[in-house]
């Protein structure tokens, strides 16, 4: 079982039921569960969307789009059925927050999903977990069955005139399926290849019907927002970035773990105080602030608030909340190589710049790290990556290119240290670890 951590600076909203046996439906109800959805039924869709807009909740999957606004884009009238799709295909390296939500608080996802359905007029919700989370699907399915048994799902939920069904399933191993349009393809029983947009899912989504797609953490936040009120939730965070976020700290921190902190919390403080600093008192070399696709930050760049706008201003992205800490033993070339290996493996192959670009980057970086690098390779790596940017139908191409560009730009010296057959300057340390 993944270890739970705690720190006094945490503001537990989404994680407040973690470790409280809330997978049990009666316990969940005891802990204020299924209260928000009853209020939502009473107050109606306009009230729900107003609360969501006031909350300044922004999508926790990575893009940070305002959730209330997303919901308001769904047409009120539609000939085709509307759907809610919960994206639990958590696959961005460095990210493991939804893992804990499904493990400890599956009913919050169900409740949030019903509320989203009420807000946009959908009668069916899908909860899609990544294939590796099979044991969490078992927990989720049990929670759904319990909710049906209580009349919280099915016909006339909570004694109202509303019907709502939830279907849950897993994928079968594909990072790309975490992208919203590829996710819909996968749910329709196809290869996880993205769709061309427009039309956007809010207009033409699953089975051609208007569809709201939200990250699992976003959906799990919804009941809490209605319970405390949108404005109160917004006040926890920073400007235009409401509430809290589950930050997944990994890598060389002394106390890695998933911490729930207010949006805008200082990154330096997060690493040095919340996560206990760098393991063994070593020096910090770099931080990947929001999952593997976000450009790396130097130690001199981490005195910033962790919200979508401030991290953006610092030249990176808040992404999916995966804060990866690198100490001074890390070879950046090897780290860049491992990152690009991942994207090369996961590229669906549809768009040529992504399919070929990731492959060439992998080949070049592999040769480079093995000591076969030439001076021109350094600029070539950057040139290749820059030519992938914005030239693909989905953001996977950008996700591969952006960190690569940042590694070359910020750690050029380390690339040069590998030139002309020089062995990796960090290999010795790694051999020591191996011995």
């Amino acid at each position: 079982m993944p270890k739970l951590v705690s720190h006094p600076d945490e503001v537990k909203v989404v994680s407040r039921r973690f470790g409280q046996d809330a997978t049990n439906i009666d316990r969940y109800i005891e802990l204020d569960g299924y209260k928000a959805v009853r209020q939502a039924i009473e107050q109606g869709p306009d009230w729900i969307i107003a609360q969501m807009k006031a909350s300044n909740l922004r999508g926790r999957g990575g893009a940070g789009f305002p959730t209330g606004m997303k919901w308001s884009f769904v047409p009120k009238q539609s000939e085709k059925p509307k759907y809610v799709l919960v994206n639990g295909d958590e696959s961005e390296p460095g990210t493991c927050k939804d893992h804990l939500i499904f493990l400890h608080d599956p009913h919050s996802v169900i409740e949030g999903c019903i509320i989203a359905g009420l807000a946009v007029g959908a009668k069916t919700g899908f909860i899609y977990l990544r294939g590796e989370y099979r044991y969490l699907l078992t927990i989720m399915e049990k929670a759904i069955a319990d909710a049906y048994a209580k009349g919280f799902l099915g016909k006339g939920i909570f004694g109202s005139s509303f019907d709502f069904e939830i279907i849950s399933q897993t994928g079968a191993g594909a990072y790309e399926v975490g992208e919203e349009s590829a996710l819909m393809e996968s749910l329709e029983g196809k290869r996880g290849v993205p769709r061309i947009r427009p039309p956007f899912p809010a207009v033409v989504g699953l089975y051609g019907g208007p569809t709201v797609i939200n990250n699992a953490e976003t959906i799990a936040s919804v009941p809490h927002i209605l319970n405390m009120g949108g404005e109160a939730y917004a006040r926890i965070g920073s400007e235009r970035n409401g509430g809290t976020r589950l930050f997944c700290i990994s890598g060389h921190a002394e106390r890695p773990g998933v911490y729930e902190l207010p949006m805008g919390y200082n990154l330096k403080k997060m690493i040095y105080e919340v996560a206990g600093g760098i393991r063994g008192g070593r020096q910090l070399k770099a931080v990947v602030p929001g999952g593997s696709s976000t450009p790396v930050l130097l130690p001199s760049e981490i005195d910033i608030g962790m919200d979508f706008d401030q991290v953006g201003k610092a030249g990176s992205m808040l992404g999916s909340g995966g804060v990866v800490v690198l100490d001074d033993t890390v070879c950046i070339v090897e780290f860049a190589l491992r990152t690009i290996q991942f994207y090369q493996h996961e590229s669906c192959g549809w768009c040529i710049p992504c399919r070929e670009g990731t492959d060439w980057l992998k080949k070049t970086l592999t040769r480079f790290h093995a000591g076969g690098g030439e001076a021109k390779d350094i600029d070539n790596i950057r040139y290749l990556a820059e030519n992938m940017l914005g030239r693909t139908f989905c953001p996977l191409g950008d996700a591969a290119a952006m960190p690569t560009i940042a590694f070359v730009k910020k750690f050029r010296q380390e690339f040069e240290d590998h030139l002309n057959g020089k062995p990796c300057p960090y290999a010795k340390q790694q051999e020591l670890v191996l011995a």
């Binding site: 079968a172 329709e188 997944c248």
Partner: protein, 174 residues
Amino acid sequence: MSLTTILENPKPGSTIFSPELAARFDKLVTLYPRRRSALIPMLLYAQDEIGYVSDAAIAEIAQRLELTVLDVRNVLTYYSMLRTRPIGKYNVQVCTNISCMLRGGKEILTHCKKRLGIAHKETTPDGMFSLEEVECIGACSWAPAVQVNYDFHEELTPEAMDAVLDQYRSKAGQ
């Protein structure tokens, strides 16, 4: 795969799956607005029962979903967890992606290779273990992590990894 397996259709009403799984499939295909949506779960459940997705499983799933065998294969080959060949009883999947790499994921992989005497995507001669280097499995804050079949093992060291392997070995012996 021979041409005959492509052309040969299973007899309607007959099944290669256990009665429980066949009943589960009967329900799954009615669950979604479109039958085809049940495809990925069906492939996974078939694999769980048989150990891999066999030609016969593909043919029956295609028939149940009113798809061609080619439609099914087209989807099957996209997803990294689905396989068309048998592997060991316990599939040891070692994550070496960034968060795990930083905390010794590659060393865990090397250790497993040495310990089991097999490389990536190979199986021990007794059919007990298969080994696979995998991409991020969503256990980054508890790295390095390994998944054996669907079970997670976190915060591993080479010694702890040995204990995990021993645990499965004795489980198989029971």
